[in-house]
């Protein structure tokens, strides 16, 4: 396949941002009908490269060729005209319009051209054709917001096809999909291949890359590392290329003997959401909570943290019942929540690193409301150093850090409050391999210091690799509990899907 002449060819692409060389001499070629993985840790330059290809950024140097002819992609519209479509993690569909209207938005078949009267019948027919070519069972007249995430993604793909796309860029396409939905996506990708459409596939999930991709281009720190055939490259090799070092242990588990009970939750109930949730966590212990998306794991954490009201049940710390009505109460009692959606709930993107790190502990740095800024910064500096947060300086806005470092900032914020109970909700979502290991190391450090950790995760290897005990949730109930020794991916999934251990 690599013998075919490339559809897209990038050479020596350079892209600078103030203070950062985001892409340095990067090349990439994609041939028709190929699924090409773009791999690299967060901050390696994948997003920037995609944006260069799709016309969001213009490179400072380098050439882009399509079918061997140099082109200048100034805008996303240019990219589309050249046959390049991009499907972002956040979809760009109009939620209140129908599938058909979305696919042909701005290009509706017209009955009376002068009056712009849409030929609805033709619109539906053409939509059926497009959906059919992907073997999709979606009603052209369904409103997009009533479709599931996976189906919306299919509509995006169909839309790209209807635009005669010859290259479709998929940015983390499986991030929010169930495994069944992922299979459907792979089927759709197979059909794209048959039609000689190329796909650039960006993902952190290397097993998926292994399953669906033909070749992989690997970036590290904005530079090109290698382009490898996926079939003959192992996952470990890919990781090594991405991080530039061997990863002996993906889950560095700190040995820590669970001690006395720290947190106990009894019959936590919120009408229609949580139904009698009971469990405990001991000092030095990580309790993992597994479950499908929508099994109310996040809601459980929020309820314990006082972010959502509860109707009944109680929370005990060190054996004493405590009243947690607000996050402020929770913090007072030494509970911390690292939320799942870092950007929306965790970081203060426009504030500096140090302001983020000390934000929940301002009382400690103030007298009568007046802050001791010097001490704050000193303190923040210590955390930046001890957590190895990669930032040029304390004043850097958190917005400009990589995902893994942003997550460390959030964790640092809680370390500052002297929290002893940590609720981690998807602690490594969207974080690259190296960053994940750093987060795991931190968690290990916490329990060895005697903290208690509740970790919600949708990544089973993570749950299995780190937890001392594993709870499985389904529809707002705890439906199973496993010791680390007994737990396998199989029995956890079984429990999460069917509600029985």
């Amino acid at each position: 396949m690599t013998d075919a002449s490339p559809f897209l060819q990038l050479q020596a692409i350079v892209k600078r941002f103030p203070g950062v060389l985001a892409l340095n001499n990067v090349g990439l070629d994609v041939v028709p009908g190929e699924v090409h993985a773009l791999l690299g840790e967060n901050g390696a330059g994948k997003s920037t490269l995609i944006k260069v290809i799709s016309g969001v950024y213009r490179p400072d140097a380098g050439t882009i060729q399509i079918d061997g002819r140099p082109v200048d992609i100034r805008t996303p519209h240019d990219a589309q005209a050249l046959g390049i479509s991009t499907i972002y993690q956040e979809f760009t569909l109009a939620a209140d319009m129908t599938v058909a209207e979305n696919i042909f938005l701005g290009r509706e078949p017209l009955r009376v051209r002068a009056l712009s009267i849409v030929d609805r019948k033709a619109l539906i027919r053409q939509t059926r054709d497009v959906l059919g070519s992907l073997d999709l069972q979606i009603d052209p007249e369904a409103t997009v917001k009533h479709l599931g995430v996976a189906q919306q993604q299919m509509v995006e793909i169909a839309k790209a096809l209807s635009l005669d796309a010859r290259l479709i860029i998929m940015d983390e396409p499986t991030a929010t999909l169930t495994s069944h939905e992922i299979d459907r996506l792979f089927e759709a990708i197979a059909r794209l291949k048959q039609r000689q459409v190329a796909v650039i596939y960006v993902s952190h999930r290397l097993d998926e890359v292994k399953a669906v991709c033909d070749r992989a281009t690997i970036l590290r720190d904005g530079t090109f590392v290698a382009a490898v055939p996926v079939g003959s490259t192992t996952i470990d090799e890919m990781i090594r290329l991405m991080v530039g070092r061997d990863l002996k242990d993906k889950f560095p588990k700190v040995k820590s003997e669970p001690r006395e009970e720290m947190l106990r939750v009894e019959e936590l109930t919120r009408k229609g959401v949580l139904h009698g949730i009971s469990f405990n966590v001991r000092r030095g212990e990580i309790v993992g909570i597994a479950g499908l998306v929508g099994s109310k794991r996040t809601e459980t954490a929020r309820a314990i943290f006082g972010a959502d009201p509860i109707d009944s049940g109680r929370i005990l710390l060190r054996g004493t019942p405590v009243s947690v009505r607000t996050p402020g109460d929770a913090i007072e009692h030494g509970i911390a929540l690292v939320p799942e959606d870092r950007k929306r709930q965790g970081i203060f993107a426009t504030l500096s690193v140090w302001e983020n790190v000390v934000l929940s502990a301002l009382r400690r740095f103030s007298r009568k409301g007046i802050l001791d800024v010097r001490r704050e910064k000193q303190h923040a500096q210590e955390f930046v150093a001890s957590l190895r947060i990669a930032t040029p300086d304390l004043e850097k806005r958190v917005l400009d850090l990589s995902g893994g470092n942003q997550q460390k900032v959030v964790i640092a914020k809680w370390l500052n409050t002297n929290a002893e109970v940590f609720l981690f909700d998807e602690p490594t979502r969207g974080i690259d391999v190296g960053g994940k290991i750093e987060v795991y190391r931190l968690m290990g450090e916490l329990i060895s210091r005697g903290a208690a950790i509740v970790m919600i995760s949708s990544e089973l290897p993570e749950i299995l690799g780190l937890s001392d005990r594993i709870l499985v949730m389904r529809e707002g109930r705890i439906c199973g509990e496993f010791d680390r020794a007994d737990a396998t991916e199989e029995n956890i999934l079984n429990c999460a899907l069917r509600g029985a251990a």
């Binding site: 402020g328 929540l337 203060f348 426009t350 301002l362 409301g369 802050l371």
Partner: protein, 298 residues
């Protein structure tokens, strides 16, 4: 932005040397002080992720209450009543926004209309004259060569800067505006601090209203039309982000200086007030555009 201000000053100064005269500098700074105080309050509101549309109308309400109380009870009582009235109106804004969860735009839009109505009702639509002559000193007097309103505004700037940069409240203002949900999850009592934000804005409007009342030495129910929009303009021209979390007293000061120097300078070089409005409009949009463009290049 500082370069723009210097450039403006040089241009105006070269066309009309009077621009640099002590009387005129005193003049510009005195005229700017009202907008400056309103913009300070507005800075808190916008930084926190909200907005305060009521500050212009509050000038009128404060003016009427200040004048009435001053006639009834005396100089000091009138001044106090005016400032307190501003703070109370801010408290009402805050309660509606933080407790009833009405969006700030709507809540303060309501106050904009209602405060104007209250000012007209209390005054019967008529100016309230006959204030003690000593009161004139507040708006027209000097400390050394510096007009008293300028001194008050300058003190207020230093104070507000201290609050924003050196207090918990100030830090929380930034945090709320940067990411309200994260602020809640970080244990900040967002409702309480929002109330404090609008009380602060109201108090600054109260001080501005009292000074303006002194400048016109009467209670005037029609004062302050569209001043809320200029206060918003001052905040964003300097580089404050309209959606909150970015900006500060420094950027607001820049905005106030640009608007103030522009208004005075254009008068001095005899540009018609109609054309002045066009210029100011262009500058508001242009300044924000330049800011965004700089942001995009990152």
């Amino acid at each position: 932005m500082p370069a723009v201000i210097v450039a403006l000053a040089i241009v105006f100064g070269s066309i009309n040397p009077n621009f640099w005269s002590a009387t005129n500098l005193a003049n510009v700074s005195r005229q700017m002080s009202i907008l400056a105080l309103l913009a300070l309050g507005q800075t808190f509101a916008i930084l926190s992720g909200g907005i305060d549309l009521s500050v212009g109308s509050l000038l009128a309400l404060v003016s009427v209450i200040c004048a009435q109380q001053m006639k009834n009870f005396g100089l000091f009582e009138g001044i106090t009543a005016g400032i307190v009235a501003g703070g109370l109106a801010g408290l009402v804004n805050g309660l509606i926004i933080a407790r009833a969860r009405v969006p700030p735009f709507i809540a303060t839009l309501g106050m904009l209309v209602a405060a104007r109505g209250a000012a007209l009702t209390l005054s019967g639509g008529l100016p309230i004259a006959g204030l003690p002559r000593e009161f004139l000193v507040l708006g027209a007097g000097y400390i050394g060569p510096v007009p008293i309103p300028t001194v008050i505004a300058a003190v207020a700037f230093v104070l507000a800067h201290g609050i924003l940069r050196r207090t918990r409240f100030g830090r929380y203002v930034y945090a709320m505006g940067s990411n309200e949900e994260a602020a809640v999850l970080s244990g900040i009592n967002v409702a309480n601090y929002k109330m404090l934000v609008y009380i602060t804005s109201g108090l600054f409007a109260g001080i501005a209203g009292v000074i303006l009342t002194s400048r016109v030495i009467s209670g005037q129910p029609t004062l302050g039309e569209v001043q809320e929009l200029y206060s918003i303009a001052a905040v964003v021209i300097g580089g404050g982000r309209i959606s909150g979390g970015v900006g500060g007293i420094g950027t607001t000061l820049m905005g106030v200086l640009v608007l103030g120097i522009l208004g005075n300078g254009l008068n001095l070089v005899q540009v018609s007030s109609y054309i002045q409005n066009i210029v100011i409009g262009v500058i508001i949009v242009g300044a924000v555009y330049v800011d965004l463009a700089r942001e995009r290049r990152r």
